[in-house]
Amino acid sequence: MTDAATTGAAAPADGPLTTADGRPLKSALARAERIRRVKAMLLVLPLLLFILITFLFPIALMLFRSVDNPIVADNMPRTIAALEAWDDRGELPDEAVFAALAADLAEARRNRTIGRLATRLNYETGGLRSTVTRTGRRAQRLKAPFKEALIGLDEDWANPETWAAIKRLGKRLTGVNYLAAVDRRYDVNDNVVPQPEVRRIYVGNFIQTLWMSVIVTIACLALGFPVAYLLSILPLRYSNVLMILVLLPFWTSLLVRTTSWIVLLQTEGIINDILVWSGIISEGGRIQLIFNAEGTVIAMTHILLPFMILPLYSVMKTIPPIYMRAAMSLGAGRHYAFWRVYAPNTLPGVGAGCLLVFILAIGYYITPALVGGQDGMMISNFIAYHMQRSLNWGLAAALGAILLFGVLILYWVYSKLVGLERLKLG
């Protein structure tokens, strides 16, 4: 519009064009445009605000929480300052540091912040919680020399690792949560070392989460493609019935569907009963089908299936049957025509369905929590544990952030390989 006004204004030699009330046409047009733009902005403003508050703000908060580490710095200022000079990690810090610690802990106890401090240190080294609270209770009455007094109170103060942990956590921004999320930690000399083998869980679980999501996606595609195809070619009155069969579970509560799978798959359940009855397995040889990774994959596949079928169906519906007929009239066999003409046209739906199912699966929580049992846990279950039980929100945030970036990277790879414009979400 503005361009048109400019060319219009440049044409006559005797000054710019004006409107009836004498204002330049260009600015009058720009003004009208601006009002329309403001109106449009106002219309989308609620949605923008909603997304900002419920989506972007929490994510920003989560990213911040994963590196935010104020507790030790706020509650042990003297100790942190005194530890500046401590370099020889083989030796204990000197008396001044111990004196600062006693003063800090006494004050933290008076302010009733010692619990948070103790909890934060305990995330780093198990057992420090009781060391800190116990020391805090007596810190008021301690007398110099503090080094002997504190070590007499608890042996943990004679361990350089304790001091290294305090010094490390004295920084307001920290990467320890991310290290912990990839099964690493700092040793006494601040080198990054792997966790002891018996405590390594997260890396393995990230891999397991990815792997299970891939299998669920493949299974959904294999099961969903024929259904969507059938839906798209059947006459309307049959396809409507079939569509309801697809949508009915979609509308049923997630919990109901998951518990139904428990009923079906448990060792005393229907599937095992049928297998025993038909003599395929013996009474003693009942198969464990639920409360493990396999059961989780089965239940998740069923629950996520509609997310594959619906985008596939919406794409298949738009492929004119004439293409297939044309291919066959030109001499292609049924299979050849299907794979070379029909299947490539469904790719936008396949891409959308796979992306949707995979992204939903990778963050799945309820189903693995209910039927995951021994080895079907996914990373969301650990995030929930740290949110609800250990209250280690920093570690939960770090795990969540890694998951988020993983998905973003996959999304980016997808857009490079397939192209987002080929995505059709329904």
Partner: protein, 362 residues
């Protein structure tokens, strides 16, 4: 999208609380664990209190832990007035300033005049919490399906030769490690001493290894009675109240093995900054007197925290069974009992949980 949900809990919780902040002083929100347990509290505490004071009590359910309280306190909008907490959470919440401190001298004395501090069983009163019940983790079996000998000791739970079949256990290291050590011959008094050493932890996991392939892991208290009823497991650890409930009201032939029971307490606590603090304190004083605590035992088989309540325990409100012998604290049941050590678990929970999950996955 689920990951965003977990991540945005605090912000969304804050919003939700903001919307529902119209809390008037004529009602109290009391939060507990749901199911038969909440029902017992509603019958024994809430209903008489509503009748007496003309206050409306909203009973809400949660699934334990401090996450919601932490979110409410940090957002500055507290909508829960009284919460039923496990001991470890009550102590930790108190340490972290998430709970109000209570004036324990205000609690009513026993009918014979014994002050509350002496009437409550040792270790059941805390700076921020007043205990109502003793509950315990035991193991149980279905007598109808158990052919041959009956299991009697905690060692029998780990003996798959004598008692074949699957075991149900809660998917957490807590209590399972204690069971394992006691089954391995450690006396209850020494369990936490042994567990505090790396060797002791190895020993407990080694004992768990012996039944690992036979375990069905449960997560919520309603699962073990179901697992037993379905025949999914031959033996299962469970909360004693749930097993009693299934036996008394649903006619199941479940039997409890009390040997090696690990008992714990639940306490009332008030989240820091509750707008109805005074009313909440009144409610706690009312519900923890001798009469009310004894009344609750009529509805569920958890033991009252006051000594003076024991003599007043009556019969089950539906089944008419005398409740006394079904209490974890009944003399015959309490012989080889271990109290859950919250200090130990507050210290080592995260570490042992990681180890437990690594052990599960391998």
């Amino acid at each position: 999208m689920k990951r965003f949900l977990t991540a945005s809990v605090s912000a969304v919780a804050a919003l939700g609380l903001w919307a529902g902040a119209a809390a008037a002083a004529d009602k109290l929100t009391v939060v507990s664990w749901g199911g038969a347990y909440s029902m017992s509290q509603v019958k024994a505490y809430h209903e008489p209190y509503e009748a007496k004071k003309g206050i409306k009590i909203l009973s809400e359910n949660y699934n334990g832990g401090l996450a919601e309280i932490k979110a409410q306190v940090e957002a500055g909008k507290v909508t829960w007035d009284v919460v039923d907490l496990e001991l470890s959470d009550a102590v930790r919440g108190c340490d972290e300033g998430l709970l109000e401190e209570l004036d324990l001298s205000q609690l009513p004395p026993a009918p014979d005049g014994t002050p509350a501090k002496e009437d409550f069983i040792a270790g059941t009163l805390h700076d921020c919490g007043v205990a109502t019940i003793l509950w315990s983790t035991i193991y149980a079996y279905d007598a109808g399906r158990m052919t041959g000998g009956k299991p009697r000791t905690i060692a029998d739970f780990f003996d798959t030769k004598k008692f074949p079949g699957k075991r149900g256990m809660r998917k957490t290291p807590k209590v399972n490690l204690e069971f394992a050590l006691m089954a391995d011959g450690v006396p209850p008094g020494k369990v936490y001493e042994v567990l505090s050493t790396p060797k002791g932890v190895d020993r407990a996991f080694a004992k768990l290894d012996t039944i690992k392939g036979n375990v069905v892991w449960w997560e919520t208290g309603s699962q073990p009675p179901q697992l037993l009823a379905d025949g999914e497991v031959a033996l299962t650890t469970a909360y004693n109240g749930r097993i009693f409930d299934a036996a008394a009201t649903e006619g199941k032939s479940f039997e409890i093995v009390w040997d090696g029971q690990v008992w714990d307490i639940d306490l009332w606590a008030i989240p820091k900054g509750s707008p109805n603090k005074d009313a909440a304190v009144e409610f706690i004083k009312f519900s923890t007197d001798t009469r009310r605590l004894a009344d609750q035992a009529r509805f569920i088989s958890y033991g009252p925290a006051r000594r003076s309540s024991v003599a007043l325990i009556g019969k089950h409100f539906e089944a008419g069974i005398p409740m006394g012998p079904h209490m974890p604290t009944a003399p015959g049941n309490f012989k080889n009992a271990l109290q859950n050590n919250f200090e130990f678990w507050a210290d080592y929970q995260d570490e042992l949980n990681e180890r437990f999950n690594a052990w599960l996955a391998n």
